[in-house]
Amino acid sequence: MALDKTEVEKIAHLARLHISESEAEEVTTRITDILTLIDQMQSVDTEAVEPLAHPLDVVQRLRVDEVTEENQRDTLQQLAPASEDGLYLVPKVLD
């Protein structure tokens, strides 16, 4: 499947990536090449095949409902690019 630049821009926006004008063409070509590789799988009929999400047929373990964690705010906020009064700061959120 070939992609055009508008689609590439749409995907980039969904993924929150910025693609400059100068990159757009190459990115489009590369992704189109990869999609061609991927499309090889379309040659096989898989109508009756169950999708496989996990290699092993195992089920989810459950965790006992206990509080096991302590306050780690100071440690974790040392990693933050911007924080104040215990909050992570980001450019204004508009909704």
Partner: protein, 476 residues
């Protein structure tokens, strides 16, 4: 043109587990920002989710309570979108295989009629954190304490046709959730939130009209008002020949209108796919049976029992079971006072009136069930009259001492000493010769006035039956 309204509700309920859905962080309400957000909740690289068994049990508990199909194999999915209060950049939810499938609720409407409203599904998902918009040099602050708390999203069928039905459905849902003890379900605190999907169509039309979604309404009353205002808006547009745009709207309570929200993403494309860090959740019949066996008596069953066991009217029983705490309170009053009907009146009128006036929950009532039962018992054994009982009740709100002590201290005990009553009667006869003469002339109804005079003289304490009897005797 005549229109009909079609409403579907999506209700988010915070499940009251001790720890989060996928981490061991506390879910306690009101903590300092980010003190209940561990490395998983902050989505540090390399961290992984492990599912909280209590969240599963609570969801199944809700499912069996509404007679729903239970998903024996539920699958978590990732819903992808960017938002600063969503640390992983995706929300873990259940898309195709929810834990709770189709079920139904029966609601009672104002005219006493009942309606069954279908529940499409209820799925388990993570809550997001909070964005705080106070000024931080033009920035927003993010608090992740709430991120990862377990939610149950309950989706109704689009079978609700009025604001009244919507509120009845919500109240019923609220009651059941409280009976099940799976959530505080306090709308004002956000532990129960409601999104309303509204569309209208010409009466008789079978196709659904274009719907709008009103997000995050936080009280029953606002749900009602938001629906009225949105239906009105849609009608005006359609009647003017316009079309409804499918969009998300917000209810502005001050202006009583709904307004369009700028959508989080221009075109939402959530790119759902099965969450590879979690495996399918599998439960068997035995598990479901065990949850069922532990269900408490639910509101509908309790209401039927109250009507049967306590000889209550449909209405009274309905009011009393509308909250689990009130039903439990009532049962204590009814059994300890020995008069279930009197108990019903006192609980549903006097007590409830007092609580509403003081903005109190029944669990915080200054008058405990045992005290109210004693008060009613004192009416029954003629220690006080029903009227004096109201005075005692008022006193009980502010005084913690026991009922008998209040009656004693205030001298409210009914006067039944015939000597005392005779004194009152003779005094009234002496002071009202004209009325006495009228009575003697056959004007029977004058007796009411004379009894009233005696009661007034006794400050309400005289036993009205005895007064009546003695008056007639003395006037013969």
């Amino acid at each position: 043109m005549e229109w009909e309204t079609v409403i579907g509700l999506e209700v988010h309920v915070s499940l009251s587990t001790k720890s989060k859905l996928f981490s061991g962080s506390s879910t306690e309400f009101g903590a300092e920002p980010n003190t209940q957000a561990n490395i998983f909740d902050c989505a540090l690289p390399g961290t992984l989710p492990v599912f909280n068994e209590e969240a599963l049990r609570m969801a199944v508990r809700f499912g069996v309570a509404i007679g729903a199909e239970i998903g024996k194999r539920s699958v978590f999915d990732r819903k992808n979108y960017f938002y600063p209060d969503l640390p992983k950049g995706y929300q873990v939810t259940q898309l195709d295989f929810p834990t709770v499938g189709k079920g139904a609720l029966t609601v009672t409407l104002a005219d006493g009629s009942e309606k069954v409203i279908g529940v499409t599904r209820a799925h388990i998902e993570e809550n997001a954190g909070k964005s705080l918009h106070e000024e931080f040099h033009g920035m927003s602050g993010i608090d992740l304490n709430r991120a990862g708390e377990p939610l149950l999203e309950i989706v109704s069928e689009p079978e609700i046709t009025s604001a009244e039905e919507a509120v009845a459905y919500l109240k019923k849902l609220h009651t059941i959730i409280r009976y099940l003890d799976i959530s505080d379900a306090i709308m004002a605190q956000g532990s129960m939130r409601c999104d309303v999907n509204v569309s209208i169509r010409p009466k008789g039309e079978t196709e659904l009209g274009t719907r709008t979604e009103i997000k995050n309404i936080n009280s029953f009353r606002f749900v009602e008002k938001a629906i009225y205002s949105e239906v009105e808006r849609q009608q005006e547009i359609l009647e003017d020949g316009g079309r409804i745009i499918q969009e998300t709207r917000r209810y502005n309570a001050d202006k009583d209108i709904t307004t369009s929200m700028r959508s989080k993403e221009v075109a939402n494309d959530y790119r759902y796919f099965p969450e590879p860090d979690l495996l399918p959740v599998v439960i068997d019949d035995e598990y479901i049976a065990a949850v069922k066996a532990q269900l408490p008596e639910l509101p509908d069953a309790r209401k039927a029992r109250f009507m049967d066991e306590y000889a209550l009217s449909n209405y009274d029983a309905g009011v009393l079971v509308s909250s689990r705490e009130m039903a439990e309170y009532y049962e204590i009053v009814a059994s300890k006072s020995g008069d279930s009907k009197l108990a019903a009146n006192w609980v549903s009128q006097d007590l409830l009136g007092m609580l509403n006036k003081n903005n109190l929950e029944i669990t915080d009532s200054p008058i405990q069930a045992e005290r109210l039962a004693t008060l009613i018992a004192r009416i029954k054994d003629s220690t006080i009259s029903g009227k004096i009982a109201k005075t005692v009740f008022e006193a009980m709100i502010t005084e913690a001492s026991d009922v008998d002590a209040i009656i004693e201290a205030k001298g409210l005990k009914q006067v039944t000493d015939s000597g005392e009553i005779e004194k009152l009667v003779l005094e009234v006869i002496e002071n009202n010769p004209a009325q006495v003469q009228q009575y003697k002339d056959g004007k029977e109804q004058v007796i009411g006035f004379l009894v009233g005079q005696c009661m007034q003289l006794s400050k309400g304490k005289a036993n009205p039956g005895q007064v009546n009897e003695l008056l007639r005797e003395k006037m013969q």
